[in-house]
Amino acid sequence: MLKVENLVVNYGYISALRGISFEVKEGEIITLIGANGAGKTTTLVSVSNLIKKESGKVIFKSQDITQTPPHKIVKMGMCHVPEGRKIFPELTVYENMISGTFGNPALSKEKINQLIEKQFTLFPRLKERRNQAGGTLSGGEQQMLAIARGLMMDPDIIMLDEPSLGLAPIIVEEIFELILRIRENGKTILLIEQNASMSLSIADRGYVLENGVVTLTGTGKELLVNEEVKKAYLGA
């Protein structure tokens, strides 16, 4: 479904990615793990083409999207829930969620209403706050909103950048359950998580990023028991 080949990205003099390749097949949950600054976020951002790539290739649904503008990539069915929430602070919660549907013009009005109800049952908090401006939400509420907004477009592949950031344990649990449920509906997921043990335990496959290169790959189970991974990312 998504294939990344030899991606190189520089920030000025700094090279953030130095030739990353990985593949996400349809219906899979893939996770990228790595320390702070390893380049996980940069990978997602360059797949969505929000920054300039030095070289490399991104293929999505067998189309080359290396140079496709971000909004077109979204319309092809790829959803990216960015790091740091990035909700629209002056739009209400409801409007923020509606904005999530721009990426999928095929959605009918009923379908949109259905989706909204679905998110509201998932995050009852948001329902309570539906007419509050996004910017005044608490940190965790904003994170929920960002995820809900992403789900509103009903994408084929969803890329989540640290979705559990700042969420209470009970919500984190729900998020992970949600990810599994989404996959059951035949969708594909690319997940970045600090909480590597949790993400690896639900992932089909994982890639370990270090300093801008992939150093290890394997199934979730394999990586979970890998000594190096254990030491570096799972906490002794």
Binding site: R129, Q132, G139, G166, A168, I170, I171, A196
Partner: protein, 261 residues
Amino acid sequence: MAALLEAKGVSKIFGGLVAVDNVDMTVNKGDIFGIIGPNGAGKTTFFNICTGFYTPSQGAIYLEGQKISGLPCDQIAKKGIARTFQNIQLFKYMSVLDNVKIGFHINTRTNLFDAIVHSKTYKNDEKIIKEKGYAILEEVGLSKYADTMAGNLPYGVQRKVEIARALALEPKILLLDEPAAGMNPNETDSLMQFMLMLKEKGHTITVIEHDMKFVMNSCNHILVLNFGQKICEGTPDAVKNNEQVKEAYFGKGIIAARGTN
């Protein structure tokens, strides 16, 4: 031990929404005091009240017995409360060292005229800033980043810079809002060690965090908020076993369980 920071019956109302509802809190000197609770429970709002960004709708905050609520936030900072923010507020376009230098603001005296004539005060201040600034960076383990622009650092390091900057205030109490967010377990661990070290040195810390392992292993006292209200308070063990907290916060326990092992 003497109460360092005290909240008495503090409430905050936004429009019709009661974000913080009649909360009492006592932080003693030398504590690592944890505040936990579901999202939107009012934790950050409570911090904002303690640091003067909001004035409480009801109740008051006392620092060493002196009422501080109602004062502007810079005054409160001068009285000895330093904080970090949930969504990092660094001076992104300044070097790490400059960030810390600004932290020394309240501990220096230079005014416009001192600066123009390079008076004694100015020279003294610059000397202090230089020495102590590096010392703090050393302590936090950031000295190699001294000249890097803060905004370019990885997320986890930025959190540390924010703490270093807050330490420059030489505060009586340090309020940290989700310091471990965005860190992996190893990094969280070293942050925890760092906090314990600060405690050793006599710092008092109040911390909001969702990482239970972190909270349970470092805090000696925990306050749980839900819908703005205090639902529980006590030692980590007491909190862990509280049914109400389990239901509202830990959920089925897959994650909370990690705190214990």
